[in-house]
Symmetry: C2
Amino acid sequence: MSLVLYDTLHREKVPFVPRDEGRATIYVCGPTVQADPHVGHGRGTVLFDVLRRYLRFRGYTVTFVTNVTDIDDKIILKARREDVAPAVIATRYTRLWNRTMEALGVEAPDVQPLATGHLLEMHALIARLIEQDKAYEVDGDVFFRVRSFEGYGKLSRRQIDDMQQGDDVVDADRKEDPLDFALWKTAKPGEPAWPSPWGEGRPGWHIECSAMSVKHLGHGFDIHGGGLDLAFPHHENEIAQHEAAHGDTFARTWVHHGMVRFGEEKMSKSIGNVVSLEDAVKVWGQGALRLWYLSAQHRTPLTFETIRLKDAAAVHQRFTTFLRSARRAARDADADTTVAEPFLAAFTAAMDDDLNIPVAIATLHDLVSSGNERLAAAEAGKADARAEVAGLADALVTIGDDVLGLALVPELDAAARLEAQLAPLVGLMLEQRQAARADRDFWVADQIRDRLANAGIVVEDRPEGPRWYLAPVTVDDEPET
Amino acid sequence: MSLVLYDTLHREKVPFVPRDEGRATIYVCGPTVQADPHVGHGRGTVLFDVLRRYLRFRGYTVTFVTNVTDIDDKIILKARREDVAPAVIATRYTRLWNRTMEALGVEAPDVQPLATGHLLEMHALIARLIEQDKAYEVDGDVFFRVRSFEGYGKLSRRQIDDMQQGDDVVDADRKEDPLDFALWKTAKPGEPAWPSPWGEGRPGWHIECSAMSVKHLGHGFDIHGGGLDLAFPHHENEIAQHEAAHGDTFARTWVHHGMVRFGEEKMSKSIGNVVSLEDAVKVWGQGALRLWYLSAQHRTPLTFETIRLKDAAAVHQRFTTFLRSARRAARDADADTTVAEPFLAAFTAAMDDDLNIPVAIATLHDLVSSGNERLAAAEAGKADARAEVAGLADALVTIGDDVLGLALVPELDAAARLEAQLAPLVGLMLEQRQAARADRDFWVADQIRDRLANAGIVVEDRPEGPRWYLAPVTVDDEPET
């Protein structure tokens, strides 16, 4: 068994066979840094983060590159409105992007190239295209001659005469063909510009990804990722630029993800507050938010609705609740790893099948159900059950945290720190409750129970004495603000 | 009164008169990103962060630029050892630097230019120097002709015949003069290289700061900052490169800070653990660590010793303790702002005098002493005292948090959140303690007191009833690990 991925270029699932044995190389189109990241932006970053983590779990050394588009019309416009330099806008929103992705548990890329940091590489690629008559200069602009590249349209499977570049109508009178697109744009007054062999100007959007991916990953890297909305024209143009210039394969496999839809439901206050990705992480937490992103097959659309996020939060809670009980029950037990093997195998089989993450998560549910049964058996005194619980808990952490990034252990650890702080107080209160009950002073005993509940402390009475833990934080439909 | 700054170039205090009225422009040399930031790195970033915040407090619009040297011998060496690309090393340590500085409360720069992102700007500057015979090419290397620039040595006040460039002995046979330094270095096999008019290569270290500062701040920007260790040759060379090429002033004022020394004391475990800046912030906290950095005049050396950090932590605690009491006592009071004016004036006078931050912090102590007297008066029922306490507390937050970045309010807010969580439990325990005392059951009353103390809760008995708060976290000399 090995990993297969649906490849947009070939319109079928293809086995993942990396260019260099044991090493995987991934490039994903990153943000244009000019606004706060919103909930839609997390889907792709989480998907490719999981792909990267899964490839590492499968034994590959992964190099993950994702760019920042730090010069662009929108950045210039925003800078003008704020009366600051475009570099100030780009710096601010790059920071915010990185901080938000870190809060979402997305691992930092190995390389995060900036467009403005790769102008020489773009110049070289453009010059090569001009040399081969695949591009032409018109008064300081350089355009790609689309019909000169035979493979044009192979990614998006569009007929060449049905295509439009979209944003390039402004140059209609300067281009040989409406289909041609800009590689280099001549400087307009007041806009940032850099010297080039074709005069002062700035790069077109598409050229940066062709130049930066190959600079950092080499020709024919393994996986190019991005949203389905980028397949045409951006990715089509990336292929054309590289392959027309070099005659070899640009990227071996293309993985695209579907978009986030905002549901039909009346926009509730809680949703209204969390369309910002930074806020969404604060409200829902890294783990629940990632579970929601991962709840649909990655090419299908995903709807942002409170009910689905609550469901994801409940799933996260189920997993952490099991882990918490397992820690308590299986402390010091040697983990029995064989018990987890079928679950790890099922998880791997689902992931290997084009990252079927919803099915992979179902495996985690099965693991937790099995773990809960063994927890009960352990409490009933069954000899091997504690070791089995420990084995299942370890596997849950490996899959849930290492591969899916669900932050199960960090959340438990944060709760454990608070519990340690509360322990002396709660211990005394429970002693006093016992004393009150022994005195048949039920009013005091009830008072103590109510105060504990107000403090978010759940008490379970057990034959061996009371047990307590912090109630999981729940998110209301309509939080008071 | 206006701000004066000691200017290394003129060896005297000079009034701060910005190039553009109402706008201040600052460039500070940033890190070469190839290792974990250590405690020494925080001194300069905190100093210039305070300068930036203070200029804003004084009404200036500030543009703050600090670079990242992302290509360099050390980065290449580290990359080779790890068998990764230099860009991977640079990306990793840039992230770590930014995350650590954020934890230290250092505001993100407005622009954070990368050396590899400004090669075209460096090429233009080098070409200009060659045109004017201030630089020369030798087989793909380009050197600055030091003796062609009359002002060479004016920053460091060294005699030209006594100077050495240090790291450039390797090129001794290629340079016209041992004093000349590299602007562009020809590619060596296996090293990263970029095209240039002089062949493939990479920039010298000094050229990047001349190019990037002026690109983002313009000619003759206001303040160039950095460590005293950079004054020669780095800053001397920055001046020479710009001024030889353009004939105008590079930077108007030069502010340098002294180094951090590691004390003579036996390196204790706690210090051993916190030489990493990231760890130091975790152990001591943003506020105490900044108070330590700011405890010495900025040009003098500063010694890293446990006793000094404990002292800074005690100062921070004094400030937060006053604020906490003020919040409680002056809730809903209209702040009397006049009472804070003398303290704000004294603070401003100290800061205006070449950022005399130790004296400025002494002002805060005076403010807090005065605040504590008024707190006592308020408790004794004096009518105006609550408004005065509120006014002093507001001024403490403005100076302490907005200007010095001491995180007084965030620390109080974090404690307040925990206190809210504990309140129902603690309230009940205190009621039970009262009941036990009323029953003269002192064993139970003592038990309750001890449990509360174990949970870090300090109870103060007051005529109006008990008051409680979380004890400030203290740092041990030798934490158990």
